[in-house]
C-alpha cells in the first residue's frame, strides 16, 4: 500500500473530466496524471494543491497519507 493515496480518478469521473483536460488545467502531462492516479508518483505540494483546486475539493479529500504505507 503506497504512503500517499488519492481519489483523483473518482473525483474526475464524477465531473466527467478526461485525464487530458485535468492535465491541461493543472499544467502537467497526461502521463503524469496517469502515474498519480495509479499511485506510482507522488506529486509536489504545489501540483497537489492545483489538482484539488481544479477538482474543487479540499486537499485532504483528494490525497490521503498513510504513515504505514510504502514510500
Amino acid at each position: 500500500m503506497p504512503a500517499i493515496r488519492n481519489q483523483i480518478r473518482d473525483l474526475r469521473a464524477m465531473r466527467e473530466m478526461t485525464q487530458q483536460e485535468l492535465a491541461d488545467r493543472v499544467g502537467v502531462t497526461r502521463q503524469t496524471v496517469i502515474a498519480i492516479e495509479q499511485d506510482k508518483y507522488s506529486p509536489s505540494l504545489e501540483t497537489a494543491f492545483k489538482v484539488a483546486l481544479v477538482l474543487g475539493v479540499p486537499l485532504e479529500q483528494c490525497f490521503q497519507y498513510d504513515p504505514r504505507g510504502k514510500r
Binding site: V28, T29, Q31, T32, A35, K40, P43, S44
Partner: protein
C-alpha cells in the same frame, strides 16, 4: 502506442536510436584508432539528433514538460554519472596496473590514442545508460 508517449519520451527514443545508429558501427567496425573518426562520429551524432528532434518537435502538438519529467531527467543523469565514475575508476586502475607491471609505455603515441578511444567509449556507455534509465523510468510510470 506512439501517440500515448509524451514529447519527452519520444525525444528519448529518438536519442537512443541516434546513439545506437552512430556509436555501434564506430565501436564494432572500426579497426584503427583515429582522431578523424572520433570527430566524424561527433558530427554524425549532432546532425542525426538535430534532424530527429526537429521531426519529433514538428509532429508533436503538446510539448509540455513538468516536474515528473525533471525528476526522471535527474535520475537518468545520476545513473549516467555513476556509470561514468565507475568506468573511469576501472579504466584508470587498469592503466595504472599495466604501466606498473611494465606492459605499457605511457609516452607512446598509440597508447594515448588507445586510451582516448577507451575513455570516449566510457562517455558513450554513460550517455546510453542515462537515456536508457530515463526510458525505463518512464515505462515504469514513476
Amino acid at each position: 502506442m506512439v501517440t500515448s508517449l509524451s514529447y519527452r519520451e519520444k525525444s528519448l527514443y529518438a536519442s537512443l536510436a541516434a546513439e545506437l545508429v552512430v556509436y555501434c558501427p564506430y565501436f564494432f567496425q572500426h579497426q584503427q584508432n583515429s582522431v578523424n573518426k572520433v570527430a566524424g562520429m561527433i558530427i554524425a551524432i549532432i546532425v542525426l539528433q538535430v534532424i530527429l528532434q526537429s521531426v519529433i518537435a514538428a509532429l508533436t502538438r503538446s510539448r509540455v514538460t513538468d516536474e515528473r519529467d525533471r525528476l526522471i531527467e535527474l535520475r537518468g543523469y545520476r545513473a549516467g554519472y555513476l556509470t561514468l565514475a565507475s568506468l573511469m575508476v576501472i579504466g584508470l586502475g587498469m592503466l595504472w596496473f599495466h604501466a606498473t607491471v611494465g606492459h605499457l609505455r605511457l609516452d607512446s603515441r598509440m597508447v594515448g590514442l588507445h586510451f582516448l578511444s577507451v575513455f570516449f567509449g566510457m562517455l558513450v556507455i554513460a550517455d546510453i545508460t542515462k537515456t536508457a534509465t530515463q526510458i525505463v523510468t518512464y515505462r515504469r510510470a514513476i
